[in-house]
């Protein structure tokens, strides 16, 4: 299944049968009312859904716009990742798998997978680049406390992209009894659509809450984009509405090659990790190094559906620099008493930019994908 020209199943033959099995199992899972009720119950009673749509009392008020935060940071584990991991872990359990494999960048997905594995009784192994292990040390301890094995990845740039490579390699050897619980809407089919569906709970709630509590749809919905799962989950339920959809990408230190992770703004089409999408690469198709102050956005690719939404002009993608993200991180903390994840701070910064530009009274929602406790060391240790 493709999103326009994007997506596909560019996988080694050894993964083709596991991917077909997974696609079949996922179709059955979607139609299985009992499984869906179990997932709904886990999301409500374990993860803490629904999350509030909070109208900022102070942030952005000077612009005349209204900024509302979709508080995914309040979920169990402190990030939207649990929406996906509970869904996939339940699917894995229903299809007879006993073990979960995951990659992680910021550590949030690893933690969310470890939680899902613990509660559903599945073994968990998380692959994480050693650079990320260092900058997200508290999450490594959390994963281990939750019973997961964290396996350091020392190849390449030693970050998220290399962790995905390693998880794919491990899955190639263990697909019989293991499920690869991918953390974003990337990878070969069916992963991008599966993750999108599981994260769409964000946009579905947001849409209903905006109507119920603000009396209207938002004028713009903003979310940060690394692989793009919280953004696609925010956008998809709003696709049919007159709502501007804005993705905030990692602008890093600026848009010179190697200084950022803005794969939609600066990328070109190619295949990475099983899907045809927009990538940061050189003219010969070698993936180029990326940089972002936030580990979760430090990725040279992006979910294929985002590449399509960009091409058809349905969503806009803006690079936000490290410095802007840090400023937004501090501002939200001071103004609203909410410490956002550095990833989410990119979306906050983009929303503040929009609030300046858009007509007075505009309603802007920001998906606050996670909380920022994990980033304190980065911020206090020198920031951008």
């Amino acid at each position: 299944m493709r999103f326009g020209p994007y997506g596909g199943r560019y996988a080694p033959e050894i993964l083709m049968e596991p991917l077909r099995d997974l696609a079949d199992a996922y179709d059955a899972f979607r139609g299985d009312q009992q499984a869906q009720e179990e997932l709904g119950s886990l999301l409500r009673r374990y993860a803490g859904r629904a999350t509030p749509l909070y109208r900022c009392r102070n942030l952005g008020t000077e612009t005349g716009s209204i900024i509302c935060l979709k508080r995914e940071d309040l979920l169990h584990g402190g990030a939207h990742k649990i929406n996906n991991t509970l869904g996939q872990a339940l699917l894995a359990k229903k299809s007879g798998r006993r073990r979960l494999i995951a990659e992680t960048g910021a550590g949030q997905h690893g933690v969310a997978t470890a939680m899902a594995g613990a509660v559903l009784g599945l073994e968990v192994e998380v692959f994480m680049g050693v650079v990320d292990m260092e900058r997200q040390a508290p999450n490594v301890s959390r994963m281990e406390l939750l019973g997961a094995t964290v396996t350091p990845v020392r190849t390449g740039s030693k970050t998220l992209s290399d962790a995905v490579d390693e998880a794919l390699r491990n899955w190639a050897a263990t697909a019989d009894d293991s499920h690869y619980l991918i953390g974003s809407c990337v990878g070969p089919d069916p992963f991008p659509r599966m993750v999108r569906d599981l994260q769409s709970v964000i946009g579905t709630e947001l849409r209903a809450q905006s109507i119920a509590e603000e009396g209207r749809l938002p004028d713009a919905a903003v979310a940060c984009v690394g692989g793009g799962s919280n953004a696609i989950g925010t956008f998809v339920p709003l696709l049919g509405d007159p709502v501007r959809l804005i993705g905030a990408e990692a602008g890093g230190r600026g848009l010179k090659p190697g200084d950022h992770g803005a794969s939609l703004t600066c990328g070109s089409p190619g295949v990475l990790h099983g899907a045809y999408s927009s990538l940061l690469q050189d003219e010969e198709g070698r993936i180029t190094p990326t940089h972002s102050i936030s580990a979760g956005l430090d990725y040279p690719g992006v979910g294929p559906e985002h590449a399509l939404l960009r091409d058809i002009g349905r969503a806009e993608y803006l690079p936000v620099t490290d410095a802007e993200a840090v400023a937004a991180f501090r501002l939200l903390s001071r103004k609203e008493g909410i410490i956002p994840a550095l990833e989410s701070a990119h979306a906050v910064a983009a929303a503040l930019r929009l609030a300046e530009e858009m007509p007075e009274g505009s309603l802007i929602t920001v998906t606050l994908s996670g909380r920022g406790d994990k980033d304190l060391q980065t911020i206090t240790g020198g920031g951008a």
């Binding site: 033959e13 083709m16 390699r169 190639a172 990790h273 070698r286």
Partner: protein, 259 residues
């Protein structure tokens, strides 16, 4: 394009396919390594395009990719190595690559340039037949497809009708890398595969010694593919990588046809 088929038709013994990452660690050493592989008895050369994300490779070949990339080698190195080998040998050359370098150049142009340089076959690791229309419909190079331990029999049959040259049978689940022994069910898997295709079967993944090569041949392989052992010899070499590779290839060759 008929070099691969001819090699299998002419043979009266199993063939040895020797692999190396193009430009590992430099183009000069790489060319010397390929020459050594030929003089040590390799019947075909599989040249690997350096990749930044070699997801199907184990640690040894991955480090080969990293060395080649670090010294700046890309597709230019690959094509000039093929040209250099072709000037002095009729050995069949198979280009092994991940999808992205092919797509970045444009699939048709890549295949055209590879054929012009003198390659005979192409294996794109992460381009299964479903995504590989450009490989299947062209006539310049033999498209080589992989059969994995997880590939069902029906799919083996389909892939057998789409590939040319030979089928690359992966010996065991996982990534490239040497093993002490090949799985016990290899023989029955080769038998199953041969029942549904007429293409020769080359076995790869896990073969790095005379012993494992012999196991593959006794299990019914028409050819064995060795890569990690060769890359490991380059990596461990203290002065004469080409000589060290010659010794390794010679030893593996001894497992399939004692001289």
């Amino acid at each position: 394009m008929t070099r691969i088929r001819d090699a299998f038709v002419r043979r009266n013994q199993p063939l040895l396919i020797a692999c190396t990452v193009a430009g590992d660690p430099t183009p000069e050493i790489s060319l010397a390594v390929i020459r050594s592989m030929i003089t040590a008895g390799a019947d075909m050369i599989e040249l690997i395009v350096p990749s930044t994300n070699p997801v199907a490779d184990g640690p040894v070949i991955r480090r080969g990719h990293e060395r080649a990339i670090r010294s700046g080698n890309g597709i230019g190195t690959v094509f000039s190595l093929i040209e250099a080998v072709r000037r002095e040998s009729e050995v069949p050359i198979i280009l092994m690559t991940y999808a992205n370098p092919v797509i970045a150049r444009g699939e048709d142009l890549f295949l055209q340039d590879a054929a012009r340089a003198g390659a005979d076959g192409i294996l794109v690791v992460d381009m299964p037949p479903e995504e590989g229309a450009s490989l299947i419909t062209q006539e310049r190079l033999d498209p080589i497809f992989i059969i994995a331990p997880s590939t069902p029999t029906m799919r083996m049959k389909e892939i057998g009708t789409l590939g040319r040259g030979f089928l690359y049978l992966v010996s065991a689940p996982g990534v490239t890398g040497r093993r002490d022994h090949l799985p016990a069910d290899l023989g029955s898997r080769i038998e199953t595969l041969k029942a549904v295709t007429n293409l020769p079967v080359a076995v790869g993944f896990g073969i790095g010694s005379a012993g494992t090569a012999e196991e593959a041949v006794s299990a019914g392989a028409d050819a064995v593919i060795a890569g990690s052992a060769i890359t490991a010899a380059i990596e461990a070499s203290t002065g004469d990588p080409a000589g060290d590779v010659r010794a390794v290839v010679g030893s593996i060759r001894g497992g399939i046809r004692p001289s």
